[in-house]
């Protein structure tokens, strides 16, 4: 059942708990924001106490982090508030420490929190996906109209991570003082937000203050929207964000989902007919031939079985194939050749 609807929640109302899982050093305390009951994936506000030190290592899950307050030392780099990390599963981060302590938002996307001590990346780690940025200092604000129809002017974003397959996004967003938007919205995707600073208001849930949080499954009404003094937050979606605006506060998630399907029917009638009227509505969705077609890589005996999601699929992220006998180096540092 994945994560339940958690909204509105404010972590300031909760106390920290000590995280005592294998591999994590002492001095790490957390507040659970939301948890996927099937996979253990979760989002947590984490307090690293002054003097905290953690060995180099990786997580079995993909991880995103943003520093909320204080300074976090990651290897040689000193990261201050607003510093964002996207860390693929199996990617070995250098040692982490905090001399004076810091507050960090940690989001384990695909599994429970874990830390395996290692200075080497796991062989299955998609190391090229790692990136980090000081999102406060090194990225400009952009208009929030990343999708049409759009949010009102005064809602700005900084894109931090984007999945080219699912169109899932992680982004900072802000509302300028005096912001308001008079419509009710829902999406075809789940949405998550953590208020780093400031207060916003939604007609269904009231005020979301600093430390305010929500995890909202798809098709749930939210809005209208306002922020009297402005706010800045971290937002995420798990697939493509589309704003279905309307003004019926009593519609249910099923009615909203039906409306989305009706809009698909109106916009892409041939696609709708193909997907829904020809027994293509298989539980796993219509087949995307690019995911399943036989590829030349298999014929050469090369292992194209990337196990990132537990299923066999192909080289969507791309890498070079090599001539027989030519040595090449993999991301984990091993060098070999194929005869």
């Amino acid at each position: 059942m994945a994560r339940p609807h958690i909204e509105p929640f404010c972590d300031r109302d909760e106390g920290f708990k000590s995280l005592q899982l294998p591999g994590f050093a002492s001095g790490m305390r957390y507040k659970m924001l939301s948890l996927d009951v099937d996979s253990g994936a979760c989002s947590m506000t984490v307090q690293l106490d002054a003097g905290y030190q953690r060995s180099p290592g990786f997580a079995w899950s993909e991880l995103e982090m943003i520093v909320i307050e204080g300074e976090l030392q990651v290897g040689e780099r000193t990261c201050r508030k607003g510093h964002y990390f996207f860390v693929p599963a199996g990617y070995a981060l250098p040692a982490m420490s905090s001399a004076q302590g810091c507050l960090v938002l940690m989001m384990y996307n695909t599994g429970e929190p874990s830390h395996v001590e290692s200075t080497q990346h796991h062989p299955q780690a998609q190391v090229d996906l790692y990136h980090s940025v000081d999102s406060y200092m090194d990225l400009p604000w952009a208009m929030g109209n990343v999708t049409k129809p759009s949010v009102a002017a005064g809602c700005l974003i900084k894109l931090l991570n984007y999945n080219p397959i699912s169109h899932a996004m992680t982004f900072l967003y802000c509302m300028t003082p005096g912001y308001y938007q008079d419509n009710i919205s829902y999406h075809d995707c789940a949405e998550e937000s953590y208020h780093l600073w400031g207060t916003s208001w939604m007609m269904q849930f009231g005020e979301v203050p600093t430390g305010g949080y929500f995890w909202r499954p798809a098709y749930i009404n939210h809005g209208s929207f306002a922020s009297e003094y402005g706010c800045i937050a971290l937002g995420r979606t798990d697939s493509k964000l589309f704003n279905h605006f309307h003004y019926n506060p009593w519609s249910t998630p099923v009615e909203n989902a039906d409306r989305s399907a009706a809009r698909l029917y109106k916009r892409d009638p041939l696609l709708y007919k193909w997907a829904f009227s020809k027994d293509h509505n298989h539980p796993h969705g219509p087949e995307d031939f690019e995911d399943t077609m036989l590829r030349r890589g298999e014929e050469s005996g090369h292992d194209n079985e990337h196990k990132s999601d537990g299923r066999r699929h192909d080289h969507w992220h791309g890498h070079l194939h090599h001539e027989p006998g030519s040595p090449h180096t993999h991301a984990d540092g091993t060098t070999h050749s194929h005869d």
């Binding site: 059942m1 994560r3 339940p4 609807h5 958690i6 509105p8 929640f9 005592q20 294998p22 659970m32 948890l35 996927d36 009951v37 996979s39 994936a41 079995w60 899950s61 993909e62 599963a89 199996g90 996307n109 695909t110 599994g111 429970e112 796991h122 299955q124 998609q126 109209n145 759009s150 009102a152 002017a153 991570n161 999945n163 899932a168 938007q181 008079d182 419509n183 789940a190 007609m203 269904q204 849930f205 009231g206 499954p217 098709y219 749930i220 209208s224 995420r236 798990d238 605006f245 003004y247 019926n248 506060p249 009593w250 249910t252 998630p253 099923v254 196990k307 990132s308 999601d309 537990g310």
Partner: protein, 96 residues
Amino acid sequence: MSFKNLFIKHDLSPEVRAWLDKEIAEQEERFAKLEKTMEDLAPTREQWYQEFFDRITTIGFNVDGDDKMKISPADLPVKPAGRVDRVVWKHGVDSE
């Protein structure tokens, strides 16, 4: 929930399993508390809905960005008979 479909299979230790079970139980309690708080907010929300209707019929409904359209009072929705005002849906479309 997967943002990059990136996961490396591994075994869960009994210690981690116990931690997850405890967190899941606590999340159930948090959810029940949130749901109750939102149910209690219903009378206030009813007023907010009316204010929203007032604004979109006089100032306008945000159609796209700052483009607004005034909604005719005749086009405002009617609350379905017997429907309870509900804003928290534990599992979205699977809640009903």
